[in-house]
């Protein structure tokens, strides 16, 4: 019983991490109607930035994290300026394809700059676990879960209650209409990319603290896709619940199905959950329902 519960609890905590990564997708989608498939690559850049500042240049940890936040914000702005701005108002297919090119490009870039070998990410959080009742929990994940919940509520409030956030929402509805209403589409998209870059770096820190990392970190970007889709790509607040649900169901799948299939269920289970949910509710649990025809 205790093992079952500990699977559920640690699954839930991992789910929050996925929710934080998925937040990067959602913020960009929520303010620009683009699905950035290269989110994992941006997360990898954030991780390598922290590593470079802390280990390679030997700066203090707090400073290198702040610098990494700043640089990843700029990287986000840069990508927006040179790749996505020329494509404002283009159809979904084009926007989707360009993120594929971006994925390949950033991978090559990271290989050139940082190489293919494994680097050790500095331990941002103390390595010792947290004891909660009978469970030992990863301290980084516990802190990460707190940060995720706080950020989700904050960002959700910004989107729904501030002028700037509502402008971003309008841009996500339709580029052309937003433009004709005099909204600054470019600024809205740029801010979203910058913020998404910073969030990815944050997720990288929580995910990698004290672990080894290589270019393969990017895979977690695709791993967060099911959480984003379960919530519906327009909902930031929904991510908390979606992450929790996905994490717990992954924990349960590990507990019950791994013995049957000899391991590896956790990698495929989220996608199956995603397909089933999307078939039942094509816009996710909390996504916008658009009316296509009357």
């Amino acid at each position: 019983m205790i093992t079952l519960l500990s699977h559920v609890v640690s699954g839930g905590l991992t789910g929050f991490l996925y929710a934080l990564i998925a937040m990067g997708f959602v913020i960009i989608y929520r303010s620009s109607k683009m699905f950035n498939l290269a989110q994992g690559e941006i997360l990898m850049i954030g991780a390598f930035l922290v590593w470079s500042f802390a280990q390679y240049f030997g700066l203090p940890l707090w400073l290198s994290i702040l610098l990494a936040f700043a640089v990843s914000f700029v990287v986000g702005l840069f990508i927006e300026r040179f790749i996505f701005r020329p494509l404002v108002g283009e159809e979904l297919f084009t926007l989707f394809m360009v993120t594929l090119g971006l994925m390949i490009f950033i991978r090559g870039f990271a290989l050139v700059v940082w190489g293919a070998e494994v680097h050790f990410f500095p331990a941002v959080f103390p390595m010792a676990g947290v004891r909660a009742g009978p469970f030992m929990l990863d301290r980084g994940l516990v802190i990460g879960a707190g940060i995720t919940i706080f950020l989700a509520i904050l960002i959700s409030w910004i989107f729904n209650h501030t002028r700037r956030g509502l402008e971003m929402t309008a841009v996500a509805e339709d580029h052309q209409i937003a433009l004709s209403l005099g909204l600054n589409v470019k600024r809205s998209i740029a801010v979203a990319w910058g913020v998404s870059g910073v969030l990815s770096t944050l997720a990288a820190i929580i995910f990698l603290s004290g672990k080894g990392m290589s270019i393969l970190v990017t895979d977690i970007g695709l791993g967060a896709v099911p959480v984003a889709f379960l919530a519906g790509v327009e909902s930031v607040g929904g991510l908390i619940l979606a992450g929790l649900l996905m994490g717990i169901s992954m924990g349960l799948a590990e507990y019950f199905l791994d013995p049957v299939f000899e391991g590896g269920v956790a990698a495929v289970f989220p996608y199956i959950v995603m397909i089933v949910v999307l078939l039942l509710r094509p816009s996710g649990l909390f996504g916008w329902k658009t009316i296509e025809r009357i």
Binding site: F96, G101, G108
Partner: protein, 348 residues
């Protein structure tokens, strides 16, 4: 007044004598080129041939029908596994296994086509990623007797009536014939009623529905056809490499295939072929440029890695630049050149 009825000659794929000359020349060239090229050239051409089939299928699915699919390499994997398993366990001859592999893969693809009925746009593209993970998981979990799990499947060279396709060159002619056959099929398909229905579906689903196109059926069909091409490509891959393993069919392969479509040109069979040839050749260059530079001692061993990685950057950049500056792809440029050649000395 009677409406003009299209004559048989007007509907032909190749209409003029000049076109016939070009076509025959190209076929003859492709037929004799491997005889004079070295072993490496034949290898590259084989891979290009297999990739062309997969990308042409993807073109029908993505370019014509507008259903973004990131599962083409998975469909190839299903085809490769079924071809290998049919050969190993049932001893079926190659001219049965290749179509069978295509159909198995098509059925697998059509299941995801059913998802497309409800799921749209980005959601659909990312749902097809799930196909990748499900495929990988399943292949490594099914009984070892069937698909070999981690060891993969090894097969003997294909043989027809005692003639064994055991060298690259012999495989080249097999792939070559299948490529011609599949491309002809694709060209005919997109000019047919079905092809026009797929285009209508892509341009506006609701409008297509209103003019009487069965949206559900055609979405299903587009995945069926795309996956069929993927399956045939996978089967050829299996007979060429003679070893099938789930690791060979990664999501990156699917991403590259989509990249080839962009560079070649959306909604054009010729575009799919051009894009495949160009990107494949660049990829070959990418893997051989580094060692070559080391050999003539221009760069060090570490430099080799950098060369490889920078070629990756370059390829990514090419895809991005094509999306931004020439979304109609190479085939559009080619058409401009062809037109100005035809109209010369007048401006088109």
């Amino acid at each position: 007044m009677a409406l003009p009825v299209a004559k048989y000659e007007d509907k032909a794929l190749i209409r003029t004598r000049t076109q016939w000359c070009w076509f025959t020349g190209l076929i003859v060239l492709l037929f004799v080129l491997p005889l004079f090229g070295g072993g490496k050239v034949v290898g590259i051409m084989n891979i290009i041939g297999v990739t062309v089939i997969a990308v042409v299928g993807l073109q029908i699915n993505v370019g014509y029908a507008g259903q973004i699919s990131m599962g083409q390499s998975t469909f190839m994997g299903v085809g490769a596994y079924s071809a290998a398993a049919l050969t190993l366990h049932l001893n079926l001859p190659v001219w049965i296994t290749i179509p069978m592999a295509g159909i198995t893969s098509a059925v697998f693809g059509a299941i995801f086509g059913l998802a497309a009925v409800r799921i749209k746009g980005f959601y659909l593209a990312l749902t097809t990623i799930a196909a990748q993970f499900v495929f990988y998981f399943t292949m490594l979990k099914l009984p070892k007797r069937w698909f070999g799990r981690l060891e993969g499947l090894r097969i003997e060279p294909a043989s027809v009536l005692g003639f064994s396709f055991d060298t690259d060159l012999k495989m080249y002619y097999m792939i070559f014939i299948v490529v011609i056959f599949m491309c002809y099929g694709a060209w005919s398909l997109v000019r047919s009623r079905t092809g026009r229905a797929l285009v209508a579906l892509r341009d506006n689903e609701n409008a297509a529905n209103i003019i009487g196109i069965d949206v559900v059926y055609y979405k299903f069909l587009s995945f069926f056809i795309g996956a069929f091409y993927g399956g045939v490509a996978g089967a050829l891959w299996a007979f060429y490499v003679r070893y099938v393993h789930a690791d060979q069919f990664t999501i990156w392969l699917s991403i590259w295939y989509l990249g080839m479509l962009i560079v070649g040109g959306n909604a054009s069979i010729l575009g799919a072929i051009l894009g495949t040839v160009l990107i494949r050749l660049l990829q070959e260059l990418m893997t051989s440029l580094g060692p070559l530079l080391v050999e003539i001692s221009l760069v060090s061993r570490i430099g080799e890695q950098v060369v490889f990685a920078s070629m990756n950057m370059l390829l990514g950049l090419i895809i991005i630049l094509f999306v931004i500056f020439e979304p109609r792809g190479l085939v559009y440029r080619l058409n401009i050149i062809r037109e100005s050649y035809r109209m010369w000395p007048f401006r088109p």
